[in-house]
Structure formats: structure tokens, C-alpha cells
Symmetry: C5
Subunit: 362 residues, 5 copies
């Protein structure tokens, strides 16, 4: 059942898109998208936090605050998004990428702003990710999420309490903090997978069972999903660190470097564990094969011992008439014919056993 959800998710990565040949920069709202809510946090001397529905309410906050974080949750309301795009003069491609939620992580520099796409792990399923789009333009940072629920609550708490650097410095540091939290959202999920692999390894070493094959296959699929999601972040954050993007201060770059290290660590672990599961699969197959061979060997040995014995019994079950001539099965008339035949059988069995043992088969 867990698999089923997993697969559905994968498929949905590929459903809806503009038709080939459609104009670029279109806003194609996914009919199943959640309706949009806007959560605004004003920073600076004043701290303002407000859930707004009308874009025009922004004016008041802009007036009283130095910096603005507009967090847009849900991408279902076309008019709201369109108004927002107009207000902040977002490039059409930006808003197209925002609503088309199957982008790889990337960074794009526009003339008057910086556009970043990242993918956040949603909950505990490595295959379920949510697209996070962030647009930074001067004193305004707009973030777009697909669904309510994210990993930024500790960050909001710090902003509310005017605690930490993030509350008192330029918005590029907020951008870093958001990305850092997104990257860090991979760790718990990855730790779970890693622990499952390690547990499975111990389990396979102690006893091989057929269900383990399903587990290995599933874990490999999850690691593949994780790798596919996290890998583009490397290039994305690297571009933010290395390129001379004017929106990002040098001091923030030091922090992004740290964030980059985390991405590398995730990729590194995923790759290592892909190899671990690959080794594990080979080990599993060898083990199950060995077990099967052991069974077959023992059973075949049993058959092989009894077949000559049955043959001897068969011979003395023949109905040649000893009355006709002394050549015909005289053993049947011997005094010790029966015990001798049993002894013969025991002897054959014994010799076979000795031979098998010599060849180390038993």
C-alpha cells in the first residue's frame, strides 16, 4: 500500500503541462491546486504579521516596514497570482514556473530580481516533494508553496522574536535561511531510509526471506527518488555561492557554502546507500541461492541413495521362476537370501554416504 501511494506520486510528476507549441509564460492553473492564501511578514523597525486576501492590503505593510516576506501558500487562485505578478512586475516565465510545480531546483537571475526553485521533502515519503519557488527583488521576498505546512516555523518564530541575524539583516539572508531549512528537510527522511537499509542488512545477514527482496527494491526506489530531487540543488546553490549575483552579499555566501556542504552530504549519502543496497541485493541473491542449493542438494542426495536400493529390491521382486532352472534367481531359495539382500542395500547406501562425505557434499 505504501508502494501504491509512492507510485501514484511518481506518475503525477508527469501529468499536466502546457501543450507543445503553447505560448511561453502562460499561467496554467492546475485544477486540483489549493486556493491561494497570502501570509505577509513585515520586518525592520516594526514587525507586522498578517494573513491577507487582497493584494492591496500590502501597501499598508510596505509603508510601515523596511522589508517584506510574502509567503504565498496554494497555487489555485489565478487572479491573485496574476495580480501579484503585475504588482511586482514578475517575468512571465517566473510565474509560469511557479504554477507548473514539476520543476527541478534551479536559480535564474533576472534583470531586477533573483528567482530560485527548490524542492522540499513533504512529510515522510521520500518520493513526495513540494516545489518551493522564491523570488527576491530588493526589499521584497516572495515565496510560493503548493500546500500549507512547511519546515519554516522555527524561522518564523525567530522573526517574531526579532531574534537572530535573519530578523535584522537584508533579505538575501532570509533567502539563505529558507533554502537551508528546505535542504535540512531531507535529513530526517534520509536518516529513516538509511536506518531501514542498515536494519535490513542485519536482518538479511541473520536470515534470508523472500519479503526482503521487496524491501530492497522499495528502498532503492526511494533512494533514487531522493537523488533525483536533491541533485539539482547542488548546481543551484553552487551558482548562488560562486557567481557574482548582486542580490547575494558576500557574508551570506559564507552561509550558503555551509548549505552547499549539506547538499553534498545528502547526495554523498544517497549515492553511498545506492551502492550499499546494490551490494545488499547481490548478497541477498547469493544467500537465497545458497539456501536453495542446500535444499536441492540434500534432497537430491536422499533420492540418489534410495534409487539404487529400490533397484535392488526391484530385482528381487522379479518373478523369474526358480523352479525352472537353478539359474533363475537362486538367491530367493538361499537360507540367508533376504538378510544378504538387506546387507547389500545397507552396503550400497553406506558406500554412497562415504563417497558423498569424501566429496564434501554432506
Amino acid at each position: 500500500m505504501a508502494r501504491k501511494r509512492n507510485n501514484k506520486q511518481k506518475k503525477s510528476n508527469w501529468r499536466r503541462r502546457a501543450k507543445p507549441g503553447d505560448a511561453p509564460g502562460q499561467i496554467l492553473i492546475d485544477p486540483s491546486a489549493i486556493s491561494t492564501k497570502i501570509h505577509v511578514i513585515g520586518l525592520g523597525n516594526n514587525y507586522v504579521e498578517k494573513e491577507i486576501t487582497d493584494i492591496n492590503e500590502l501597501d499598508a505593510i510596505t509603508a510601515s516596514c523596511d522589508r517584506l516576506w510574502i509567503d504565498v501558500v496554494g497555487l489555485g487562485s489565478e487572479s491573485t497570482l496574476r495580480n501579484l505578478a503585475n504588482l511586482f512586475q514578475l517575468h512571465p516565465l517566473v510565474i509560469e514556473d511557479v504554477v507548473n510545480v514539476y520543476q527541478r531546483a534551479k536559480v535564474e537571475e533576472f534583470e531586477d530580481g533573483l528567482f530560485v526553485v527548490a524542492r522540499m521533502i513533504d512529510g515522510t515519503d521520500p518520493a513526495t516533494t513540494e516545489q518551493i519557488s522564491i523570488y527576491l527583488k530588493g526589499n521584497v521576498l516572495i515565496s510560493f508553496q503548493e500546500r500549507p505546512g512547511d519546515c519554516w516555523d522555527p524561522l518564523r518564530q525567530r522573526l517574531r522574536q526579532k531574534r537572530g541575524k535573519v530578523a535584522n539583516t537584508d533579505l538575501d539572508y532570509l533567502l539563505y535561511s529558507l533554502l537551508d531549512a528546505v535542504i535540512d528537510s531531507y535529513f530526517p527522511v534520509l536518516e529513516d531510509v538509511v536506518e531501514l537499509v542498515d536494519t535490513l542488512e542485519l536482518d538479511i545477514i541473520s536470515e534470508v526471506r523472500i519479503e526482503q527482496m521487496h524491501r530492497i527494491h522499495e528502498l532503492r526506489g526511494q533512494l533514487l527518488s531522493l537523488r533525483r530531487s536533491i541533485r539539482p540543488h547542488r548546481e543551484m546553490i553552487n551558482e548562488l555561492v560562486r557567481d557574482s549575483i548582486s542580490e547575494v552579499h558576500p557574508e551570506t555566501r559564507v552561509h550558503l557554502r555551509d548549505c552547499y556542504d549539506h547538499v553534498i552530504q545528502v547526495i554523498d549519502t544517497v549515492d553511498t546507500y545506492r551502492e550499499v543496497t546494490s551490494d545488499l541485493r547481490d548478497f541477498y541473491l547469493s544467500s537465497i541461492n545458497n539456501n536453495m542449493n542446500e535444499v536441492m542438494k540434500l534432497l537430491t542426495i536422499i533420492s540418489t541413495i534410495f534409487i539404487p536400493l529400490s533397484f535392488i529390491a526391484g530385482v528381487y521382486g522379479m518373478n523369474f521362476d526358480p523352479e525352472v532352472s537353478t539359474w533363475n534367481m537362486p538367491e530367493l531359495k538361499w537360507m540367508f537370501g533376504y538378510p544378504l539382500s538387506l546387507t547389500l542395500m545397507a552396503g550400497v547406501a553406506g558406500l554412497l554416504l562415504i563417497y558423498f562425505r569424501r566429496r564434501r557434499w554432506i
Copy 2:
């Protein structure tokens, strides 16, 4: 049958070519090529759309329009192509590449023009692609297709209605729009393959069947075809984005960057699904192996239990004469000889069953 067509297609990729040593720049018309039709769209203040047969008809359109899109469909008419090449002074290598329709995607800059080759997915078969050659030179863009039918109808619609940027700006944006549509033509086909892989995975997990092996093999082949077609586009579009090609405006480059992301996304998905099918194949093989082992094990166990029993029956089927001596099969004369022998058999069978169960074989 689907396979057959598939394979024929692959083979045809390799049939016709100039002989080694032939002069470069020759126009070698494929005898099976469709005869050429020219569809001209004039843009600018006037909008003209016309199907022409005589090259000279172009003059009138050129006079009344600022920009020209000449869409050449079918590559079978040598004289038409030759006239076109002369009129626009195309480099001989360009026209050679146009008619030799088995090129990889590429971009080439000539002194006075830009030549781009791309491959469009034709219909629903991942292995069938059509070569799209585009030559951009000042205010004229010439596109060459192998067959009628393409993914550009929405684009033409926009041109007709003078809608969108494409209708009102330089031709490099039209070039981008054409390429974008070509790249987007990969998505539906890829989505189909991906969905088939996902369905197949669920199918294999629920029950293993031999036909699934054919499906895996076929899907792997389709993914390979897709990768081979799409991969050269990465380099091609990257060159258009990065290199300072004079024909491409900076603003168009922003759009091509988006197009580049799409190419990467297709390649990424194809690569991921190559790995998924590889994992799936291993899983399939393990499953079918396990099933087979189960069958063999059970059957062997049945044989192994009956073989000693048959042996006992064989022993008491021997014809040693109990009359001759009391040593000869006295059991035959016992009152409970028969029931005892049956009990013995039951005992042996029981012990074997217990042993097999202890070793977890049944």
C-alpha cells in the same frame, strides 16, 4: 507488432548516405522523400499566409512584410530545394544536412546565418523522430520538415491572431518558439513511457509473469531511443544560450534558458527511468527465480518423501521364499506384518516432514 515497426524505424536510421569519398555539400534526395511544399508566413505590419509552389512568389511577400517564416514540408523535390538554397545563398553543407535526415541535434553558426537541427517526436512512438532543420538569416527563417504534421499549430494560430510576443518581435524569438515546441513534443511520449513503467512495476509486484520481461525490454529500448534523440539537444540549446551568437538577443536567451531546463528535465527523467527499469528487471528476475525455486522445492520435497516409502514397499515386494528358511522375509508371515509396514512408512514420512519443517523448507 509494435516492436516490428519500432525496429524497422531504427534500421532506417542507417540506410542511405553519401558514399565515402563523395564530395561534401551534395544534395542527395532520398527517393522515398515526400515532395516539397512551401508554406510561407509573412509577419510585420501585414500578415500574409500562403502555400506557394514557385519560389518566385516569395518576392511579393517579401515586399509587403517585414519578416518571413518559410516552412518547407517534404524533402523530395530537388529543384525546389536547390532554388531555395540559391535564393538565400545557403552554405552547401546546410542543404546537405537538411536532406540527409539522420543528423543529431546541433547548432552551427555561419558567417551570415544560424543553422539549427533538432529532432521532433513524431506521433506516439518514442523511436520515431523527424528531423527539423531551421536556418535563420536576418529577417528570414526557413524551417525544413520531413513530413506534414507538426506540433506548431498553436504557434501558427498565435501568429495569425497577431497574439503574443512571437508575432511582434524579431525572428530569433520565433526560432526559440519552434525549438520550445519541439522539446515539448517529448513530454507526452515520455509521460506515456513513464506511466507504463510505473504500471508495470505495480503489476510485477502483485504477480510475476513471463510477458513482463518483454515489456521491460521494450520499455528499456524506448527509453534508450528517447535518450539518444534528446541528449544532443542539451549541448545545442546550451550553445544558443551561452555563446555570444549575434542572431540571438539577450531577452530570447532568457527564454532559451527555460527551454534548456526542459531538456534537462527530459534527460533526467529518461536516465532515472533507465535506472528504474534496471532495478525492475533485477526485481523481476529475483521474483521469477523465487517462484521457480518455490515450485521446484515443493515438488522435490514430495518426491523425497515418497522415495523411501516406495523403497520399503519394494523391499516387501521381493520374492525371497519364506518357506526356505525363517530368515527369509519372516515379516510376510507375521500377523500384523502389513499394518506394521504401513506404520513404518507413515513414520518415515512423518519424520521427514518434521525434519523439513524444522529446517524451514516447508
Copy 3:
């Protein structure tokens, strides 16, 4: 037999070489090399074509022609080669590489000339290649072949008829034409291999046979040979295109770029088909395994059904004496003993068949 020739060829790639520690630049003639013939073509206002044996005959041609193509066929005559080297002041390493015919494709720029090594496919065996060395120095181009017979006859025809650009321009264009023909010599051979793979795939899908394994192995070997021969050409031609080599005019570079595309196409196809054959091998192995399993399963099922039946027959073949007691095999005396035993057997067989069918084994 085809294999045998194939393998001999591979081995010969590795026989003769200078001893470690020998002086570089030595001319070590292979004793089995064909004796040298020189075919000179003078280009320019006059066209001269002559088979010469004495180097001194060159003077006359040089006097009357602007450009010289000296085609040296057969590398067995040490003195001729030495004279040639002296006349044109070839670097000792050049002439060493020319006679040591197991070089990888490469380009080397010397102070006063350009030295190119390429490998031409010889005939239809992908494993048999011939080293082509070309030295270009001002108005003289010297080409060296191991054996008579090449892919340059159409080119010579064009020179004779003073047709095409190659007859009327600088020798770097001739160099390009020669290389282009060499690269194109890979296509027919590659097409053959590709067609064999495709045919084999259809064949395996319709019916698996043991010989197919040999075919797969052989085709993989041929693709490997092709890859090994063609791959160094990529770097070689790339150097000619990109590096500012003074001997190569910019216009020729445009043509070499085309040649580069062909190399990439060959490499690409070889790599793709290595993967195709790898998939095919896996498919073959799965198929043969499945077939084997089917056979074994059915046969084992037959055995398994008859074993209990034989056991029953064995029981009633026992010789316990029904006369001694009523406990001893009273069935033998029953009126319907025999029909009942047969019914019992049929019943057991039926139950087993039903069980096997339930478990989907038959």
C-alpha cells in the same frame, strides 16, 4: 571462422614494436609490409597523375604543378621511405609513427608541418583497420597507406575532372576530404552491425536459441573494436577544428566541424548499440532461463504426479501373506480391490493436478 580472422587481427595489433630502450625515431620496417609504391597527383593549372618509383621523378611534377599529393602505398621499402623523409625533412618521429602502423588517431603540429594519423575501416570486418598517416606541409600533402585499396577513388575522380572545391583550393581542404572519406568508411560497416543487432533482436524475441548467444558476443566484440578505432578521432578532429593550427583555413574548419559531427554520430551509435546488445543479452538470458524453467517445471510435475501412484502400486505389490491373518493386505482379496486401487490412484493424480493448477504451476 569469421571469429578466427577477427581474433588474429586483434592480436596482430600488438606484435611488432621497438624494444624498450631503443632510440626514438627509428624506421623499423615490418618484414611482412607490402613494398612501397608512390602515386603522385599534381594539382593547379596543370593536372599530372603518375605512378613513380624514383623519388627524383618528383622534381618534374613539382616544377609544373602548384600543389602535390603524394600517396605512398605499402610501407615495406625502407630506402624509398628514407629518401622521402630526407627530401621533405620529415621529423624522425613522424616516419617512425608512419611505419609503426598500430597508432591511435591523433594530430601533431610540427614547426613546419601538420601530421595526422587516422584509422580507415578495411573492407567489411569492423576489427580490421588500416593506419592512414598524412603529412601536410605547405603545398605538399603526403599520405601513407598500409595496403592498396582505399575509399578515395571518388575523390581522385573529382581531382581528375578538376571538379569540386577540392581540385581548386589549398591542400588543407584535400586533408579534410581525405579525413572525411576515412570517417565515412565507418558508416557502411556500422550499418551492417546495427542491422545484424536489430535482426538478432527480432529473432530472439520470436524464438530463443543457443547460437544467438554467440552472435551477441561476437557483435559486442565488433562494437568494441569499432569504438576503440573511432574514439580517438573525436579528439583528433576536435583539435583540428578548435586549435588555431595555421595550416587549416577557417573555411575548412567549417567542413571539419561537419566531419566532427559524423564522428560523434558513429561514437553515439556504437555506444547506444553496446547498450542495446547489453539489454539484449540480459533479455536472451532471461528468455533461455524462462524456457529452461518451463521444461524443468513440466517434467518435474509429471514426475511428482507419478511418484505417489507408483508408491501405491508398490504397496499392493508387497508380498505379505493374506493367508496368515486378515490383517495382511485384505484388499488383495476384496472383490473390487483392483478397481478401487486404480480409483485411488486416479484420485491422487486428480487432486495433485487440481492443486498444481490452483497454484498456477500448470
Copy 4:
């Protein structure tokens, strides 16, 4: 049991971390961390070595010595670490990385110092590594270890005796010496693994046993652990060598180059031995398969020979009544019926044996 420890270790690599969204630069002490001890060595004209508990004791040593090596062992005392960070104005990210002991090896340059993370092999288990963090800032070098016990005792000895370059030059040389010792700590462990692989190979070649599969799997896991630990050092030391980091003198770079060679050598060996174990696993599987096949073949041959013999015996065990007609088993009444039947059996067995031998099965 060794495996168990091994796996626990791996898991622990992934346990504790800051929650996603937490502020960067936090000091999150691992509750199980060992309490901190500080070992100071003052270098220069005076040599001072002291175990201190109060940071303030540093002042006295600073006064009397030119250079300071502060070796912090155990990362459990938050206040001590915090004081240290304040005293030397360490960047918050530095101290966060120090206590979060699951970093990859890396180097980071800060405005006023150089921060290096390395991983030391701890004891003899390739999977157990300890994070070594080093901060170099002018005349102070601070090193952080997780646990007491390291590979630096010979180095300390040299410092005490004012022997060697390390005692008399700038601290970047001490940094190099520390890193060199850390890298060298991989050699004994790697040598052990390599020797185990070589021994195992000889063992498998002489006789295949099932336990060997476990050994291969375990060794592959250890090599993977080693690779994962050592690989990031390559980039780290390369940055120290190549980049113009002001803290590192050119002369020290010569030494670091040597250190870099060692890293490459370790990585190289690990990679080679991953391949060796991979080959070994294939060899093991082929061997065990061959053995199994041998067993099965011989046993099946035995069965196959006896089955027709038993059939013949079965025929002559039939109870057709020879009295009724001369057609009913007249052989039973023949004078040499029994010997003839035995001869027939021997003949059949002999023919089968000859046939099997002809086909090279025995």
C-alpha cells in the same frame, strides 16, 4: 558481532542534527559527548605544555610563547566551547560544525582564519571515524577532537624535544603535520583490509565455502566506508595546495602536495580493491555455481542410470500369468531368464555410461 558494531556506527552518523529551520551557527551539544579537556602547547623560545580547565589560564602561556597549539578533546562542555569561541572570535558556523561531528572533510577560508575539517580513522574499524576540526588563525592553532586518543603522539614528542621543522616554524606547518598524520591513519586500516581481501582470494581459489560470501560482503562494506571517509580529503587538500590561501606558506604547500599524493594513493587503492572484490564476488558465485552443478550433474546421472534398470526389474515383477498363454512373460520360464535380465540391465547401464562419457558429462 563485528558487523553489528559496524552497522551501529553507520547509523549513528545520521542521528542528531539541528531541526530544519533552526538558526544557523547554534551550538547543539550532543548529550553523549565527552566532557571537554584542553591541552595547550606553547611553542617558540619557551616550550610550555599544560592541561588547563579555565580558558583564562591561556593568558599566561600566550605571554611567554610565540605560538600556541590548543588541542580541545571532547565536545561535551558547552560553556568551555562558547568561551573559547568568544575568546578567539570564531565564526558561529565554525563552532556549529565543530560540535556537529558528522561533517565531510572540507576547508573554509574566513576573513581572519582558516577552518579545516578532516576525519581520522579511529582504531581498527574502517567504519569508525572521528571528526578532527582545526582552526588556524595567526599564531594560534585550535584543534578539536571527539574523543581522547589520536595519532599525534610522535608529533607531540618532536615538539617537546624541539626536534624537526614543526617545532621551529609557523603554525601552517603544524597544520600540515596534523593533517598528514590524519591521512596516514588510513594506511594501517587499509593495509588490513587489503590483506584480508588478498587472503580471502587465495582462500576462495583453493576452496569455496559459504562463509566467504559474508566476508566479501563485509569487506566491500568496509571499503565503501573508507572511500566515503577519505574521498572528500582529496578536494580539501587540493584546495590547500592550489588556492592562494594566505595562511599557507609556499614551502608548506610542497609538503601538502606530498600529503595529497597519499590521499590519492588511498583512494586509488580503495577503488582498485572495490573492483577486486567485485571480481572476487563474481568468481565466488561462478565457483559455487560450478560446484553445485557438479553435484547435481553427478547425482542426476546416477538417477538416470538406475531408472531404466528399475523399469526392467519392474517389468519382470509383473504378475501376468505365464500359465494362461505362452505370450504371457515366457521369459520367466526360460532357463537363463534371470541371468539374461541381469545382462540386459548391465548392458543398458553400460550403454548409458558410454553415452554420457562420449558427451563428456562424466
Copy 5:
């Protein structure tokens, strides 16, 4: 036995090293090293060749000759090496690398000299290599070998006869000549391995045997050893060619480029043959599997045919009493009972044979 030596060698690559934490630049003499002999060749106007034991004897030769080649054979005499190091002011790391004979090939430029490490194939075992260290400083070239016996005798001969460029030019050409001979020492060994692989392939194609698996495994190991030894030379020689190392003249670089081609050729061949052996192993396994399947199939078919026949014989061996009722085995009393039963058996066997043939199993 060959394997044993092979493995011992591999292990010895890893035994002796400085302890972690030891000072760099130490001379740690291997106790088993051969005692040092110094062979000096003075070049220039005078030619001097002398075996010396005392370093001071060098002075006389230095006085009379322009250039000096000091060939140090055996690394067992610490004092001699130390004196040499002092005399020519070698960097401590140089002399450490010289005696620690398990280095990868590399080049290091020091302020006043060039240090090169290469690995020479020693004899015919691909796994046995000898470290060659060369230090070039102005007019002195010092080479260090582990053991007497090398591939430089033809070179010495040329020096003695003042033949060739090497005798009459600067020492960088001697350096090249030494390296060229070392690289060339790989060819005969590689040719042997390649020929063994090719022979083995033909052998496996004609008949599969179990010993071949050992051969494949051994050859793969040898190719791996070769690759590991040769691969670092690529980078090493590339650095000599490309980097502007002042000790190497441009003209020598042309020769080193040739040497580089040879290295690439060796690596290329090793890689190709790793793939060939990999294909070969798969082919071997398929073949042996096919053979085994053939055996098992035939034997199982034999069993399967006889099992129903034996069952029929068993039925008519039952002792139901025909006297009791006409239902009890009336066949026994039929006139043609026995011939009919035999016919029945023949019929069953025939039907089975026809069925098996229909299904293509025989």
C-alpha cells in the same frame, strides 16, 4: 602458484610505511632492500663509465665531463643515500619518496630541480613493478632503482657509442629516453596478457571448461594491476608536456608527446581488454549454464519417460488376487496381457517423445 606470487606482491605494496605522525622527510630504509651500488656515466667531450662506492669519486668525473648520469641501484645503504642527498642538496621529501618504494607515478617541480617517479614492469608478471625515481638538476641526472636489471641497456649502448641524440644533448632528453623505455616496458607484458585473452576467447568458444573461469579471473586481476600501475603515468607525462617546466626543452616536449601517446595506448588497451574479459566472463557463464541446462534437460527427459512406464509395470506387479473376482486384475489372465502391457508402455513412451519433440525439447 603463479597466483600466489602475484598476491604476495600485491600485499607487499602495503607493508612498510612511516607511522602516522612521524616527521616527514625521514629516510626509512626497508630492511630487505638491496645494498646500494652507484653506476656513473659521464657524458660530453669525454665518455666515462664507472661503478663507484664512495661518493667522493664523483668529483673526478664531474671535472672531466659535461653531464652526469648517476644510476643508483638498490636502496639498502642509508649512509650512501644520505651522502648523495647532501651532496646534491635533495629536498628531504625527495629522498623519502625514493626509499618508500610504493609511490604512484608523479612529477614534482622543486625550486632547483625536477623529481619524477615512474613504475617499471619487472620481468613478465604484470603485478610486479619496480619504482624508478629520477631527479634532474642542471647537468646531473640521478636515477634510483630498487633492484639490478632494467630496460635501459640499449640506451647505455648508445651512450657508450656516442650514438643518437641522447648522447649529445641536454639531460632532459636523457630523462625522456629513460621514461620512454619505462613506458615501453609495459608493451611486452601487455601483449602477453592480450594474447592470453584472445587465446582464451577462442578456447571458450570451442569448448567450455571450468578451469577457464580461473584464467579469466586471473587475467582480469592482471589487467587491473596493469591499469593501476600505468594510469598515473598519463597525468605525470602530461604535466611534463603541457606545463612550462623550465628543465624540459620544447624539442624534448615533442618527444614526450609521443611518449604520452604510448601511455594512452596502453591505458586504452587495458580498458578495452577489461571490457573484453568482462564480456568473456558473461559469455563463459552463459555457455556453462547452457551446457548444464542441456545435461539436466536430457537427463530429466529420460527420467520423465521412464517414470510412467515404471508405474504401469508397478500396477501389474500388484498382488490383487484374480481368483477372488473377475474385477481383480483380469489382465493378468488375458492371453495377450503381457504383450499388451508392453505395447501400452511403448505407446506411452512414444507419445511422450512426440510431445517433447513437438515442444522442441529434444
